[in-house]
Amino acid sequence: MDFTPRIIGFLCKWCSYTGADLAGTSRMQYKSNVRSIRVMCSGRIEPTFVLRAFLNGADGVLICGCHPGDCHYQEGNYRCLRRYTLLKKYIVQMGMEPERLKLEWISASEGKQFADLINSFTQTISELGPSTIKHTMETLT
């Protein structure tokens, strides 16, 4: 069976989304599996957003923010890193594959890195196979 991963990407407006834009305007070819959601800052991304994405059928979630020290709001990406670290520990405890959630720093000039990241993350999720979360939660007895 052909499996096309569905991946949700949360990208911060100032660095990562601009980096994704650069990949686009530079006409770089990369996998089309990521649905990008622009947020003002990676510090805006609550654990609920990620869990909701999985619950609604995402096979992977990618979070991108500015490199440490480069945050437009000074500290937002550190907050994101702390939340991500805790959330990861929680999803492992709940029996989820930790590889399904990934955090990477992408700056506005890193179009190439963004394209490579999307390709490698899509590859990882393809190898993991479809997520069972949506189905499991819908069929509880």
């Binding site: 654990p47 869990l51 909701r52 702390r82 520990k89 405890q93 979360i133 509880l140 007895t141």
Partner: protein
């Protein structure tokens, strides 16, 4: 003259326990002598912990016979579900009373295991069990007298609203007697009740908003202490001392009993309004105040949180996004 003549008909109240510890049923008794005032205007028509009514008595009631049912406990097995559906039919107002009925509660933590794991632990592995034949209870058994049945033990624990329609939610483990009196008072005096689906008998703000402990705006945590690892100074915000407290993401209304008793909030009053996943909200709040930028150090600090699922979802696992452990 007949004593009941000219009086309004009495309210009919039922209190039922499903997968619960019994604390919620007993909490009704915590209103002490006020119970006599309640008995004055209301009849308790079903209350297994205190009164000898049978399930068949409920079954024989006409539909909507009971005015208010306080249903406590989570839905663990087919008996719980059967009674939830039956009491829904027989009641005008069904209240999910207490954290287990509202959010799944402590029994909901069993969603970290499968039913097979639980039965295996209890009937085969536990240190005090001697069961060489590995005998397990059967749902059905053909005896000489006829077929005997036991309730079916489900794989997943659910909250009351996940099996039937619920009119109101009353949080607490157990709900505070003062709140119950206020709610009953409103009902008896004919006050207009809030729209169906509301949380009643609780505040609207978070615990922290009204907490009496000394706190600053700038909370910074470098290590999480478990309560036995540190001596609480008795007056500073628990979080500022590094002790996990669920105050930031928990609804007020309990009267701060735990905090007044020098124990951090465990989150039994559930999330504040419009929060879909209480544990995720709490994780967000807690992780945000970790005072560290180095990834390895952050990892070490997060590692001092021993059991995130059990801590942040202590009362709410069955109603959260990840309702159970994935197998």
């Amino acid at each position: 003259m007949n004593a009941t003549e000219g009086k309004k008909p009495k309210f009919k109240i039922a209190v039922y326990w499903a997968a619960a510890c019994g604390g919620c049923c007993v909490s009704v008794l915590d209103i002490h002598e006020k119970l006599l005032d309640v008995a004055e205007v209301a009849d308790l028509v079903f209350w297994p912990i205190a009164l000898d009514f049978k399930y068949k008595d409920v079954k024989e009631m006409p539909d909507q016979h009971i005015d208010i049912t306080l249903f406590n406990g989570a839905i663990r097995n087919s008996e719980n579900e059967h009674m939830a559906v039956l009491l829904r039919k027989k009641s005008k107002v069904l209240v999910a009373y207490g954290s287990c009925a509202y959010l799944g509660g402590i029994p909901g933590l069993a969603n970290l295991s499968t039913s097979e794991e639980l039965l295996c632990r209890v009937y085969e592995e536990s240190e005090s069990t001697v069961n060489p034949g590995k005998t397990r209870p059967l749902d059905k058994f053909q005896a000489v007298e006829g077929q005997l049945e036991l309730p079916v033990f489900y794989n997943d624990v659910r909250s009351l609203s996940q099996v039937t329609d619920v009119d109101y939610f009353m949080p607490g483990c157990p709900p505070q007697a003062e709140r119950l009196l206020e709610v009953l008072g409103d009902i008896f005096s004919g006050k207009t009740l809030p729209p169906a689906g509301s949380v009643i008998g609780a505040g609207h703000k978070a615990q922290c908003d009204e907490c009496i402990r000394k706190k600053t705006e700038n909370k910074r945590i470098r290590k999480f202490y478990r309560p036995w690892e540190i001596v609480d100074d008795g007056e500073t915000c628990f979080l500022e001392q590094g002790i996990l407290c669920m105050g930031p993401a928990t609804r007020s209304g309990c009267g701060y009993r735990c905090i007044k008793g020098n124990s951090p909030c465990r989150g039994c009053y559930g999330p504040t309004a419009d929060v879909s996943d209480p544990g995720a909200k709490m994780m967000s709040a807690i992780a945000g105040i970790i005072d560290e930028k180095n990834p390895a150090e952050i990892n070490a600090i997060v590692d001092s949180l021993v059991d995130p699922a059990g801590t942040f979802y202590r009362f709410s696992m069955p109603v959260s996004n990840l309702r159970r452990k994935l197998s």
